[in-house]
Symmetry: C2
Subunit: 506 residues, 2 copies
Amino acid sequence: MTKQQQTAITPTREENYPEWYQQVIKASEMAELSPVRGCMVIKPWGYGLWENIQSTLDFMFKETGVKNAYFPLFIPVSFLEKEAEHVEGFAKECAVVTHHKLEKGEDGKLVPAGRLNEPLIVRPTSETIIGDAFSRWIRSYRDLPMLINQWANVVRWEMRTRIFLRTSEFLWQEGHTVHATRKEAEERTYQMLEVYRRMAEDYLAVPVYTGAKTDAEKFPGAVITTCIEAMMQDRKALQAGTSHFLGQNFAKASDIRFQSADEKEEFGWTTSWGASTRLIGGLIMTHGDDNGVVLPPRVAPAHVVLLPILKKPAENEAIMAYTRELAARLEKVSYHGNPLRVEIDDRTIGGARNWDWIKKGIPLRVEIGPKDMAAGAVFLARRDMDRKQSRSISRDRFTEEVVDILDDIQKNLFEKARAFRDANTMDIDDGEAFTAFFTPKNPEKPEIHGGFARSHWCGDGDCEEAIKNRLNVTIRCIPFDGNEEAGACIECGKPSGKRVLFAKAY
Amino acid sequence: MTKQQQTAITPTREENYPEWYQQVIKASEMAELSPVRGCMVIKPWGYGLWENIQSTLDFMFKETGVKNAYFPLFIPVSFLEKEAEHVEGFAKECAVVTHHKLEKGEDGKLVPAGRLNEPLIVRPTSETIIGDAFSRWIRSYRDLPMLINQWANVVRWEMRTRIFLRTSEFLWQEGHTVHATRKEAEERTYQMLEVYRRMAEDYLAVPVYTGAKTDAEKFPGAVITTCIEAMMQDRKALQAGTSHFLGQNFAKASDIRFQSADEKEEFGWTTSWGASTRLIGGLIMTHGDDNGVVLPPRVAPAHVVLLPILKKPAENEAIMAYTRELAARLEKVSYHGNPLRVEIDDRTIGGARNWDWIKKGIPLRVEIGPKDMAAGAVFLARRDMDRKQSRSISRDRFTEEVVDILDDIQKNLFEKARAFRDANTMDIDDGEAFTAFFTPKNPEKPEIHGGFARSHWCGDGDCEEAIKNRLNVTIRCIPFDGNEEAGACIECGKPSGKRVLFAKAY
């Protein structure tokens, strides 16, 4: 028997991927399920990550002229009814407020009182309430384009929840824009998708495919839905951001009209686009390993943890002074325009301390013991490398090189994820091979399958539905780039001009 | 007859202060009431101000070691029942969720369906849900202090609403901390009040009194409630931030225990502290004038608007180039560590354009016409000065001096507000004078009265209540600084060792 390699997370990804995901989040202290059914608590380490995602996206939005605003949490039921497809999409899963106070009942318990004339729902998305505001704010072509974003919590009542991926309440941003022409609205749709692609690839180090959804997978009420799709380590797809061209559908439903430069009354052309705390789930499932979360430096809540080794009271003060001085130096280093974020962990809890930070996924761990101090050095471990590759480095050199080291980690994580995705993405033209690709080899591990298939599709919704019903595989997107070639639909054999991306999905 | 001075806001503050407040917000496009009863829409100009308040407070919180987290929007009714005073405080005004979907009723209209076993309330504050998390997170003294803040929306169902001051939904932050000792928790309470004082005085340019609330005015369940109190231009008080020492009351209600260094099981000592979008209302009522909002530069969404005068097509391109070049130069100027925020407004709508920005309260307006351009100059107007004081200034000098000019505006606004407050704050020792001070001279303007009275109070709740019932005047705070002297209670004449601050309040 070979000696079993010890891992910090049980089970491993190989043993049970869905359970590994729950355990890795628990071990990292990023979030937890709350006593309120379906809702999560985002703990400081997870929220710090979200703050960095938020500030990065916010900066990119504002660069394109978008401004933030805030709209009510509650939406009257009558608003939801304005757009037929929209109500179909959301009525089945929304929190409904029916009363405005609590009173003591006969048994002394608090019961709802003060019934509302019209029930309110907690926003599942704000299309309708923002549409109502736009209909009042927009009068003339001079008011366009209207470029608004909102950072908010939304609620979609979920029966089966998974932290960050599907919870009843989640945090997101929703952008809503109105334009004078179809062309400008379409361009805005793609422009914002490109923001999401940059966020995913350049910051989260998550490679994504960009493309359009099929009619069956579109946002309720949209004309075009575009998306970014990433591959998780179980080879399933995760939709990580969407941008919708809504045509004039929502403008007509919400009565968003403007007077054009030649004094005609016209309906506006609108877009909406959103990304959520789901990005955190995608990040964890892309980079995490059997020892915990692995965080890309560009979004990590902290870049470096300093771990002073405090064993002999006589030395401790000098080691702490050395540690604090290093922290002060590091905090003066600029990492992509912001100061490096440094933590000092001086707990004396043995090896558990080091493992805590491995599980949290901090990019760099720096141990500082008496010998390191005497040599003017530190002992450096990278989260993206094996622990055996940890090394001693002089304090000065570390301070000089830390930005390069972090950039190298960022690059490595992206390239590793891309290599994994590309190795598990196949061009498949044969129906039987397609079925085999998506069929689990081991019935005990039904989630393990081939990955992404780039196959031809005739464009018929019936073929799409047949594949979905048979294999639980959906068209994730019709990719924008390349793949144009003549072929035959993987389902019916009819001619097709382009490959589309098939996968099982979260 | 003297010629009537034209103002942008009708009515003026003098004519009808409450109505002026509504009109000034409308004219500034900061916010509006939404079609959802009691909720507001915060428009980009108002939200930009909130973003600046938020990032300033967030930075100050983090400097003291606080980290952000996020807790569920919904709170089970059973949680609210844990702390008796707390439930009294909030049960009368909360949004109650009773169902989790909508279905088509007999008449085709959507009706609530899927009744919940236990109703949920939308958080009016998160003490109880955060207390539940802390009871799980905290085991040992090593986990302390626990320093958590949340930025969130909260709901308190209000029957009479006023934008920014009292709405059913509002945005706020709530800090919650747990400490091993009473002393540390008390110190944290005052430390966070000091953060609010700095925010109010150094950024919002709103002078405040700091002090403690009386038992009657405390937060439900708190041992000590401290607050900052500002005077509005109608001489009423506005509470602009509170910090509570909760003793062990909430720790006992939520079972927050820890093992101390000497291995005893003890209850934690907790604090909570909050500030909200109400700060924006206070800012408007402190600095606004009869032409609109006046914004302190440190928090203004934009500092300078450039207004190119585009009258002759032949010149327009050159003027726009000159304008854009100036904008680029200004955006390179660092104003207290951040780039100057510059707007260009090139609409050709005549004088309405200038008035739009006056009403919005932007600190500096810069007109650029052909003559200015020819002279390498601009025409500069300060929002805190009369329009007659506008002047021509060379473009280079403006770029060099803009930071000093903004700092001067910031200082002027604070000093003007402090002078107003001090002129309307009186030491009153005579009961009749006290009554006269708070009695409106003109029955048609019941809101006009003397201002703040610093008077002696014996400490008896009956005296406090009698004054409240008779004059609608409350003790805003027992000030921390000074005022210690022997005197007689303004109500009953019994001995008192300190003056307290009496006022009518929002």
